[in-house]
Symmetry: C2
Subunit: 157 residues, 2 copies
């Protein structure tokens, strides 16, 4: 089970937008991240549909975050790209075969589904506990150079 | 991001094997679960490669668990089917583009990868905390009828 690569680039874009002094065109974000403009445009549209970023029109148009980076969690971005549905899909095996349980005995999820859904919730809780602002601070502490200041200067160049 | 359906049927098979008085042929497990024999054979081979079940040859041959159900976790089964690798694959975006970080500054995972891997570990920890024996007990308490006793009788019929 793998997350799509879109999650990685979408998170990088969100962190970059926390330091951008003005809207950033999709092509600039693609150039900065060394990925194809078509590919990144798709991820940005996904984030836009989830109302995490918005496209500002005009001469200095581009993308901005729709709200404070403190109010956007990593889970928000992951769910924008991957959807909010559980990673475990129960096909109700217990209702099949010669010992099929009757539907009225199956109104609650079975033990297997409950266990898998609980793990899914633990994963989402961990992603919900980190905001894009947290990621920005972590990136700021990770290197000898101030990466986000470099990014800001590059965006203004 | 979705788990493969193989996880669901593999977990059901393991729970059934906890109550089986003797080895269970793959075709019987497929019949019990109302799934295709070819499909289930593939899942059982996957569990066999992971040394969670073994195939016993002979007239009353079939599959058994290789160890106590208390010693097989849900994570063991999930990793047998899905592999042990993290759900997040980092492509080192930070090392691309005009501000590419030099390789010697990237020996540790970046903030985004760390966050995603931490959530992956939380998911695995939740799955590691439940054994096949636990699932058997939960199934036993879920219904008015004793499902696993019914299964045992059916396997002996």
């Amino acid at each position: 089970m793998k997350l799509s690569g879109g999650v990685e680039s979408a998170l990088h874009c969100c962190v970059v937008l926390t330091t951008a002094p003005e809207p950033v065109p999709a092509t600039r974000l693609a150039e900065l991240h060394g990925v194809s403009a078509t590919y990144l445009a798709k991820q940005l549209q996904t984030l836009s549909r989830a109302a995490l970023v918005q496209s500002v029109q005009g001469k200095s148009g581009g993308y901005t975050l729709t709200r404070s980076a403190e109010q956007i969690t990593v889970l928000d971005v992951v769910e924008a790209v991957e959807g909010p549905g559980s990673t475990f899909v129960c096909t109700e095996i217990r209702q099949r075969g010669p010992l099929a349980a009757p539907p009225d005995a199956c109104t609650a999820p079975c033990a297997i589904a409950r266990t898998m859904h609980a793990a899914d919730r633990a994963w989402r809780a961990a992603l919900r506990g980190v905001t894009i602002a947290d990621l920005g601070r972590m990136v700021g502490q990770d290197y000898d150079t101030d990466v986000l200041t470099q990014v800001r200067k590059w965006l203004q160049s």
